[in-house]
Amino acid sequence: MRNIKSVSGSLLTKNTLNNVKKSAPDTLMFVFRMVLLISIGFVIIYPLIYMIVTSLVSRNGFFNSTRVWIPEAISPMFNYKTAWELMDYGNSVWATVKYELVSALIEVCACAVTAYGFARFNFKCKGLLVGVLFLTILVPDMMVLIPRMANYSNMDILGIFGLVNKLTGIDLRPNLLGTAAAFYLPSLFSMGLRSGIMIFIYIQFFSSFPKELEEAAWIDGAGPIKTFLRIAIPSSGVVITTVLVFSLIWHWNDNLLCSMYLNAEYPLAMQLDLLPTTLTTMGYYLNPETPETLAFQMAGCVLFVTPMLIIYMILQRKFIESIDRVGITG
């Protein structure tokens, strides 16, 4: 009896009569949703507007502290030019691309291979290795950074080069600190910046492939490697976009790894971090705490964020779509 009632109820939803009845809570829901969305949106937008406005204020504009949103005096050209020069913008963007973004691309590829192995094959000790994978996610980079740095200064693979050194006196151990290899190597072995999480996202996606797909390829004579390259990769554009966006953003923002590995040729994130110090050493201000330095810092922030925003604008539709579609197969 109850079933019949509910079925007839669901049929009724198509009626206009029912819609009228529903509209009151619907409007309430709409208002509630909008209020929530807009107020949280305000929290997100606020610092961005603050950042942009402050980046325009000139030195004299800071004297009147009651004017925050519409500054008295502005000098956008001067602020941005100074920030640009102090951060050595062109060179540091190049350094970011060279050290960070390339290693992001390597990481995205390497993690896909590893995740495919975990998701599609059964082998001994798989449970244990998945546990290790979780451990690599849980133990933050910070914990292993110091030894990694010490190892990089004379890179050795399982003590082989060291042994050669002891026996023959020829030192084959290269110093990787300050070179791009310090960034590329971990990425290549899928142990780069937050690789664990990327592998995990990939695994979730790959394990949703139907098993028949692989078996069909197997019967048609394609080996697993061919199946991976020809079938798995082309049909996982969505998850690759997601991981790529994450990886690019994390690498662009990273200033821990480069502050440890590099001595010169700093990427942009580090230059921004160092901006107050640079301001004082260049003799702009004696005290980096004065409010005027804020304008330069905020101008630096805008310059720092812009390239990522442009990339995001380009990838945005695909990214949002990809989030919509990662699910369809799952």
Partner: protein, 299 residues
């Protein structure tokens, strides 16, 4: 009989390919994870000096740990502050991002605009910029504008709390959340994305079936959405924990960084390991409780 032998052969070949696929990762784990972790543990028990051909370590036992726990004036204080912050931020961030994802997943006008807007923190949140603007705009904002905008300038949050006559602990808690709302929202960007992806992967047939059965919205959420999200929720919890663990706004982490830049490695390693162990216990309890009480209900 023959057949079984053959399938086993295929399984064997397949398992070999599995090893091939993860081989690079295995090397990476040994080179860039296992060895450094062991080294780092050794460092924490030693006195380190840096020489030209690498580092020199002298084993001194528990001295570093004794120093940071017994003699260091601030370390335990930092530690308890970090852990409190950790325990209270985690559920708020997870809930907040889940609510945001649920909101953004609905069909309404301007959905794409809000999605694009809400992903802004994803771009900016993990880095230097967030420290700068949360330090400046954030403090500025939470102290005055939020209070004013929330209450329309008529009365402050404190007044509302006073009127409601809440117990002191809860009142304090509410105030803390309001003053931290900036950080919390800005830290839940990626979690929202993960939840959204999870929501999209729930087959719509389930909802249709439940509608036919006459389920209310709440029942739909509690019996379909929430259980189907349980894996994503676990991922989000783990991600948030790691993120909170290393975030720069954390007192311990902040001091560890400054010590690292000053090239004091032995004491730093001890500090980090003790911090990691104590947070690890908390993490284990949270994940265990989640698995036991929520995830197992449906599996």
């Amino acid at each position: 009989m023959k057949n079984r032998k053959r399938t086993r052969g295929i399984e064997q070949i397949k398992s070999r390919y599995g090893w091939i696929f993860i081989s690079t990762w295995l090397i990476g784990v040994v080179l860039f994870f296992a060895i450094p972790v062991i080294q780092s543990i050794i460092y924490s028990f030693s006195q380190m000096t840096i020489t030209e051909d690498g580092v020199n370590t002298v084993w001194i036992g528990l001295k570093n740990y004794k120093y940071i726990i017994g003699e260091h004036t601030d370390y335990l204080n930092w530690l308890s502050r970090s852990i409190t912050n950790f325990v209270y931020s985690l559920p708020i961030i997870v809930l907040l991002s889940m609510v945001l994802a649920l909101l953004l997943n609905q069909n309404f006008r301007g959905r794409l605009f809000f999605r694009a807007l809400y992903f802004m923190p994803v771009i900016i949140a993990t880095g230097v910029v967030i420290d700068l603007i949360s330090g400046m705009a954030g403090s500025d904002m939470t102290s005055s504008s939020v209070n004013e905008s929330v209450s329309g300038g008529m009365f402050s949050v404190q007044d509302i709390i006073a009127v409601l006559d809440l117990p002191a602990e809860i009142a304090e808690f509410v105030q803390k959340i309001i003053s931290d709302i900036f950080d919390l929202i800005w830290n839940s960007g990626i979690q929202t994305v993960l939840f959204l992806a999870g929501l999209q992967s729930i087959p719509s047939t389930l909802y249709e079936a439940s509608k036919v059965e006459g389920a209310t919205k709440w029942e739909e959420f509690w019996f379909i959405t929430f259980p189907m999200l349980s894996n994503v929720t676990l991922l989000v919890i783990i991600y948030t924990m790691v993120e909170l663990f290393v975030s720069n706004s954390n007192v311990v982490v902040d001091h560890v960084y400054s010590l690292m830049r000053a090239a004091i490695y032995d004491e730093t390693s001890a500090m980090m390991w003790f911090y990691f162990l104590s947070i690890g216990v908390v993490m284990g309890i949270i994940v265990g409780a989640y698995k036991k009480f929520l995830q197992n209900r449906w599996s």
